[in-house]
Subunit: 324 residues, 2 copies
């Protein structure tokens, strides 16, 4: 390691809604932590200003200089050029050279990572994947994302691309997805897709009608899980189907990575207890030619902090690789 | 490298039918190469004797001592104990400690690898994947197997297990497979499965009836491909369906590995030209969130020799890791 336990790194978690900046030591102690709304629609110039100010505030509260800065950002990114290329969750943020902007102002090396990769790296360093040589992380919320940490490093594909395990095939008769597939995992188990599937039986479900005051536009995945918990038969059946899809997705991930551990995160897994039985049955059924029962399934442990820890870790790895 | 270009390694490719033994230099020159029928049903004692004799014959034809021996064997294996555990393609070969048997006789380190891993390692070293940092190999024949070589080394899962990308999900309404899935890739595109699917239209296909003399038991995948080539509509439709399945399987592999290169091997790919258009269309359709168009699709280049080259390479890597 080319840094000390007490050296300070800045980790930044940039999402579509919030930006969080934390100062974290070489050994992983959180010293300082600030957060603000990014208000992406005000544009990248305003947004960058906000981020730089937040970094300054975090640094000003410390005595010590910082060694490096890491950014975990909602993608797509162009890591080679250090740019955010995001017309989706950060509208108007195209070709935003965040690495140069931060590097020029603070005079330290800056690492840029996809937010899913950063979160998984944080979990691998200090969270639920601490002792896993092969760590897969699966996040199911508005979208479905995966990351893979191998030997403590982010696994990257050709052109340093980020794997997209949220778009592995589950059912070719499933709905069309923007990824080009029909019936990929995201198209079947993301929050919005769960709500869409519940629409089909909305008029039959007294629970859903009652809890949306008869307005199907108020339907969301959380309500479907609540309905299943409260014994609504339609919601229960849908949750079983979703759990089956998730189990099948985890099995395909196992077939290719056979990781030591799969960490689950994201809003849909808040209802894991309602799906656990079905997911485990699917995995057990496939414990034949791969040791599926040896893959630990667990939750991410750092909750909202995995992103800043992972970004700080990316900054450390950048220093170690000589990028300083 | 702890060995020289001129050092000699033995690579062994042990299949259900043949065993092949080759002497290969540190820089990958094939010096010597012998092959014989393994006759697995005569049992492991006879089989091991045959293998040891073949190794001796290869060594006797050379002046030079050998540095190490590598074995690529049809699985399942217990690599930790150096044993073959195979009641399938090597009936009666259970708990066969091939590593000790060879090591004792020749007094050199012995590496044992799954045959799919060995073949991919050979291709990565000297064949179609020579310059690929991330090489996936997909073999479709009697079964469907995959291997993944990352940074020149065999990627292994938990407990050093071998990934089984032949059993990723394609269609949950597909046929049951011994792996525990319904509609995994192997259940839909292996040679036997293609023949099985052709059975459904056998009586409608004049081509198939004519070329099997009316005996549906003579139906095989090669005949289906020949029928498609000769313009038989039923065969053509099935080949299109198979090509679509294969394309979908390659896409799921891309989503998780995003390799530089996917190498194809095995009997079914002898008819690749009949499937190329459909497979490429499927991949192009998914060139959205991953750079699918940057993944080179190519054939394995070492044909029958990839196994012995890969086994010799495994022996070299064992020497390098200090296992001598």
């Amino acid at each position: 390691m080319k840094f000390d336990d007490e050296d300070v790194f800045i980790g930044i978690d940039l999402g579509g809604t919030n930006v969080r900046v934390a100062a974290i030591t070489g050994q992983g102690k959180l010293i300082n932590n600030l957060e603000t709304l990014i208000k992406a629609n005000e544009g990248p110039t305003e947004g960058l200003k906000k981020i730089l100010t937040l970094i300054s505030q975090v640094i000003d509260q410390m005595q010590q200089p910082i060694r490096a800065i890491g950014v975990g950002s909602t993608g797509p990114l162009d890591r080679e050029r250090g740019c955010i290329q995001n017309p989706y969750t950060l509208p108007g943020w195209e070709d935003v050279d965040i690495v140069s902007a931060i590097g020029l102002q603070f005079g330290v090396p800056v690492a840029l990572e996809n937010d899913a990769d950063a979160a998984a790296l944080g979990e691998s360093w200090l969270g639920g994947g601490k002792n896993s040589k092969r760590l897969a992380m699966v996040t199911i919320g508005t979208g479905v994302g995966t990351a893979f940490i191998f030997d403590g490093k982010i696994y990257r594909g050709v052109l340093e691309s980020h794997p997209e395990g949220g778009h592995i095939l589950i059912d070719p008769n499933g709905p069309a997805c923007y990824c080009g597939a029909n019936g990929c995992l995201e198209s079947l188990v993301s929050g919005p897709s769960i709500a869409l599937q519940a629409n089909a039986f909305y008029n039959d479900s007294r629970f859903l009608i009652k809890n949306t005051n008869g307005n199907p536009n108020l339907l969301d995945a959380a309500l479907v899980f609540q309905g299943a918990k409260n014994g609504d038969l339609y919601c229960r059946q849908l949750v079983d189907r979703i759990a089956n899809y998730i189990g099948l997705g985890l099995v395909t991930i196992m077939m290719l990575y056979i990781p030591d551990c799969i960490l689950l995160s994201g809003g849909v897994f808040r209802s894991y207890s309602l799906m656990k039985g079905t997911i485990e049955n699917v995995i057990n059924r496939h414990n034949v030619i791969i040791p599926a029962d040896q893959v630990r399934i667990d939750f991410a442990k750092l909750s909202q902090q995995s992103g800043v820890f992972g970004a700080a870790r990316a900054a450390q790895l950048l220093v170690n690789s000589g990028g300083l």
